[in-house]
Point group: C2
Chain length 352, copies 2
């Protein structure tokens, strides 16, 4: 199992990333890790954590880093020698089975999409994020890889999300919901109305439209949407959670009585924090590429990096790409037929 | 000041609505209220609250109610005699200054849009919801009136949201943000990229793209988006808040120690609940119509109904529609120029 890690990606890189790599090396003896980044800057940390000459470590130098403020395309244009581009190149050349990055999401998507390419039958890759719900979690796909989508793309996201749910939840027939503005079939925007028709015909456990208020109550295992929508929902949830936590801190520390109360019930706060925590998951896979890429949160801790590496390896073993490719092949004729119907309807409408 | 209230709208109608009307009658002596609904079903409550023969009450009978499961268009097709349609008709005929409904949002939008029409220069009305943030609130527009929008629509939403912010926050130059997926100008989907260009040229306090995680930290007074996006964000926030509250209840009642702690800090919980509470606001205005329409939450309490009536009257006094019309007139030539540029770019692109 060979995994390349973008050591320069993330708010606390490279220190925290190297710490996470160290933990992964000890915990997963079958993993070989390629550290990708500026070796001059990395050597201090590799030495600090004592893995400079580890038998399962190899190093690849990358001159540049894609900064959070850079546009996504920089990874393929002015910074072709960046750590994330080098990771994608290693995967393209078959030198690693998977890559992990907690850096610039857009750059990770762009470089793997162009260098590694998509799986046969997949038009666009998508980010699948698992989000906390009342009991357990649900998968949001696409969480930000594509800003403008066609119905076909969302149908493929549903199939990729299904494969991920089978891995993550260990269930056979995950429920699939389409993120929309009303429960009824007829509701939605132009895009989701077309997607609804395709999903209704696919051999998946499609439960129809789902709304923003029920997704956090486990109404569906997989929630399908375009990446613009998904990213805003994801960041909105993160923002609201952060604001709520900050307000709670203010409210509970206003006077000694409240502070005593908060201290007595501190384990309840701990559980609440765990609910929102994504450390355990490590990261979100970019599904649909001809390889494995796990994207960590920018603020990943070393534990999150270690878990992202774990997950990347598990994806390889689980054979998620074979499963996706098979489902796409099985459903290709259905999707093609639906697409034809959609384009006929559009031609008729424009002729009227 | 004449206000029609849809007495049949809302989860707890008509009892709670009549209770709210009663409170409004006592608190706002200059308001005359027209109760619209099935008089047979209403008379019990009108009598119960002693307002059956109140000098400032008038009654209009409506045979039908648009149910939450009905499609929006039902208000104009099979249920033309519904309480919300009758309210819209009263406003159309100039018999009332404003209407209030806590019923089917889509039906309220459809019936006022068609019967009352939009303000001069406004293509589509939009729902402006005020949402809680770290300190104070922000306005989300459109929160669900339009599922598919053109750049022009969002530019108009920004101007309407600006007028609402002036009323709600009492500030002169509210900041306007465009909901998108990245802070940089270049980021967004096809729609928001075009909207960005228009807003940059309008004489408003436009601060650029804003993301889901910063809007809850008061990054902008007005957050502009299409109604599909806005509705999903709004319901997602409601859903997450509800789930968090339920989990807190579970976590804090797990054992006697935690329960004692929760009891000691109960005022902190109260403050947290108040943060999420929308009762005080009463409802969200549907802006851009040639009249005033305040839409309450389906689960409105009598206090929320009373406040929605208060707000409806305040809008009339504030002259929000004059303010919107003036701003639209002032900016019409800029928007028209931007639209021309957009359509030229699109023609060029399709000719390539």
């Amino acid at each position: 199992m060979k995994i390349a890690v973008d050591a320069m990606g993330g708010d606390y890189a490279p220190g925290i990333v190297v710490e996470g790599i160290t933990a992964a090396l000890y915990d997963f003896p079958e993993y070989e890790i390629t550290v990708v980044g500026h070796l001059g800057k990395l050597s201090y940390y590799l030495e600090k954590y004592g893995i400079e000459d580890h038998p399962r470590i190899s190093k690849v130098h990358a001159d540049e880093v894609v900064e959070m403020s850079d546009p996504s395309t920089v990874a393929l244009r002015s910074k072709k020698k960046s750590s994330i581009t080098e990771c994608a190149r290693l995967m393209k050349d078959g030198k690693v089975d998977a890559i992990v990055s907690a850096g610039h999401t857009g750059a990770a998507v762009a470089s793997t999409k162009i260098l590694v390419r998509t799986l046969p039958g997949i038009d666009r890759p998508a980010i699948a994020t698992s989000m906390p719900a009342l009991s357990g979690r649900f998968i949001l796909i696409d969480a930000g890889a594509n800003t403008d989508c066609k119905p076909l793309n969302l149908a493929q996201f549903a199939l990729m999300g299904e494969a991920y749910a089978k891995y993550l939840f260990g269930i056979d027939k995950p429920t699939i919901g389409l993120l929309s503005v009303g429960g009824e079939d007829s509701k939605g925007n132009e895009l989701t109305k077309q997607v609804f028709k395709i999903l209704s015909q696919l051999p998946v456990n499609f439960i129809g439209n789902v709304e923003g208020d029920t997704i956090f109550e486990n109404v569906a295992d997989v929630v399908v949407c375009d990446g613009f929508m998904g990213n805003i929902l994801l960041k909105g949830a993160e923002g609201l959670a952060k604001t709520t936590m900050r307000l709670m801190k203010d409210f509970f520390s206003k006077n000694p009585l409240r502070m005593t109360g908060a201290m007595l019930s501190r384990n309840a706060f701990r559980e609440l924090k765990q609910f929102a925590d994504s450390e355990q998951l490590g990261g979100a896979p970019l599904l649909g590429i001809n390889g494995i890429c796990v994207i960590g949160h920018g603020s990943s801790t070393s534990k999150a990096v270690r878990n992202a590496i774990r997950v990347a390896g598990e994806f390889v073993k689980f054979g998620i790409n074979d499963k996706i490719t098979r489902r796409i092949a099985e459903t290709q004729s259905i999707i093609a037929k639906c697409e034809e119907q959609i384009s006929n309807t559009q031609t008729e409408a424009s002729e009227e």
